[in-house]
Amino acid sequence: MKTYLSIIVVVALLAAVPMVTTSNVVLNFLVTALLIALAGQGWNLLGGYGGQYSFGHAAFFGTAAYATAILQVRYGLNAWVGSFIGMAAGALVGAVIGALTFRSGLRGSYFSLVTLAFAEVLRIIASVAPITGAGVGTLIPLDLHARAFQFQSRTPFYFIALALVAVSLTVIRAIENSRFGAYLVAVRENEDAASALGVDAFSVKLCAITISAAITAAAGCFYAQYFLFIDAGIAYGPWISIDALLAPIVGGAGTVFGPLLGALAIKTLGETTKLIAADAPGLDLMFYGLLLVGIVGLAPRGIAGLSRAISRPRRSSISTPDGSRG
């Protein structure tokens, strides 16, 4: 129980937010942050723990979002059922991409760029295929009932997003403490050595990308229900791939709370710079970029790494000696 205590505390604290404030601005802010945290948690499993940096998590996010939307709009399926199928579809895409790329032994930047290419291929297909509504996109009709996974108020959405994040935190913590988790980290640190010790690196990575995809896919389903409209650029665009990797890296890649911390940090950063810059177009994002560079300079191991460094100063931190991932 002790290993999960921190998760329980964090989730309980977040769950108390609606009791403190009824402001929908705050709730909406937190919902979008949780959405990014969820997508980022998926990336974190594969990238943070497994060392496989994907630039194409949009492939999983988008597939799930489209599956959820299309099943409802075209086949009249219930939104909740559709969301589960959407998650499964995202996981399947993850498994297929993983099987293809890991089988060919793609690593490092090559893996990163090939995932990006997969996401782009899906984006292009979605922008021309009739089933996705092609360029017009897919609009889920308004039906503000719980059974349709739509709510008049922001609060239920908030709790659903929080529940999803809670589940993802638990899953990642469980993996961290499992044999599979240990294998995954071993593969990250030195794949050849891990293989020599009898770890089936291919299966470990394949399993990781599938679970990773499923988690990010959950964020896709949630997005579809929250905004009710998707098109190819939203579903498969680079924005989500970038947010999904930005959050965990800023927060601390390979740590359970990294994605959540990072998502809250970058969203807060975005809002703060907006306040500072007032109404001048571009100025807020200019500060945002500047601060991002500054934060990396000050906290090279992410926010989680920073807090650890403060509590346990000068713990010898040997990074991967092999700077090249080529």
Binding site: L100, A117, V128, L285, M286, G289, L292, V296, R325
Partner: protein
């Protein structure tokens, strides 16, 4: 559709476009080959260079083809400084931090341009922009031919620098064996910055070649980055010849698949050939084993 009337112009056009891709990719591949980082700020730097070329023409009346000789050195220095004083120190030598820092820089540069110059699309109208040379059924615009030739020259020059100059040799040494090079007395930090500077200078040249027929706004450079990534990987990361040939190949593939499958779907041609190549030959066409 298969008639030579359309096929020949399509291939020629692909080569012309591919040359620009190659040049943008040359910058990326150099940086990748030596620093082993994927530079996400490349597109934003291209945009910045296009703005520079635009203002050189509108404010100083400097023709883009002459502006090259000013902007390339200028951007070399800028790139050098950026790596030496910003990216290098902030990244602490970790891959994921390079990623974040270059991403952050991209956001910073793009939005600084938006803030200072607004979002207006800017174009310049040069007297020779509409001149064409007729090659059988193909009309090739003069600026595109100039671009093609320039790219070949730049690629050859880069290759020569890498082969024969001391700096070039040092760059290759660092690329191959960082620690060994350092032990031989090569200043690795300096070489890193030189490489980043060279990569940025390539982007400045590309900007001057693009501006006569293209436009610039704060997001204009983005369109070329994704494609340059594919070129870099196809050609093998770090390979100058690979980037050149890869760029030309991608240009032709894009042009032909656009003709046969349409523009939207045609883009798949590039990414699909990219994926297939990597799955079959994971180190790219010209790369050493990963």
């Amino acid at each position: 559709m298969l008639s030579p009337v359309i096929l020949l112009p399509a291939i020629l056009n692909g080569l012309m476009t591919g040359a620009i891709y190659a040049l943008v990719a040359l910058g990326l591949t150099l940086i990748y080959g030596v620093l082993h980082i994927i530079n996400f700020a490349h597109g934003a730097l291209l945009t910045a260079a296009m703005f520079a070329a635009f203002f050189a023409y509108t404010l100083l009346g400097l023709d883009p083809y002459l502006a090259v000789f000013v902007l390339a050195p200028l951007f070399f220095v800028a790139g050098y400084a950026l790596q030496r004083f910003v990216i290098g120190p902030a990244a602490h030598g970790e891959d994921r931090n390079f990623l974040l820092v270059t991403l952050g820089l991209a956001v910073l540069i793009e939005n600084a341009l938006l803030y200072f110059f607004r979002a207006d699309t800017r174009t310049i109208d040069l007297p020779y922009a509409f001149n064409v040379i007729e090659l059988g059924p193909a009309f090739i615009a003069v600026p595109r031919i100039v671009a093609f030739v320039t790219v070949i020259v730049v690629a050859l020059a880069l290759w020569a620098i890498m082969q024969w100059t001391d700096t070039g040799k040092a760059i290759r040494a660092v690329a191959r064996e960082k620690l060994g090079a350092e032990l031989c007395g090569i200043n690795v930090t300096h070489i890193f910055a030189i490489t980043f500077g060279l990569g940025t200078a390539c982007v400045a040249v590309a900007a001057c070649l693009l501006i006569p027929t293209y436009y610039v706004n704060p997001t204009a450079g983005e369109a070329f980055v994704l494609i340059a990534f594919t070129v870099v990987v196809l050609g093998g990361m770090g390979s100058v010849a690979g980037a050149l040939i890869g760029g030309l190949c991608v240009g032709v593939i894009e042009s032909l698949s656009s003709v046969f499958f349409g523009e939207s779907l045609g883009q798949i041609g590039i990414f699909a050939s990219f994926i297939v190549t990597l799955l079959v030959r994971p180190s790219g066409l010209f790369g050493a084993r990963a």
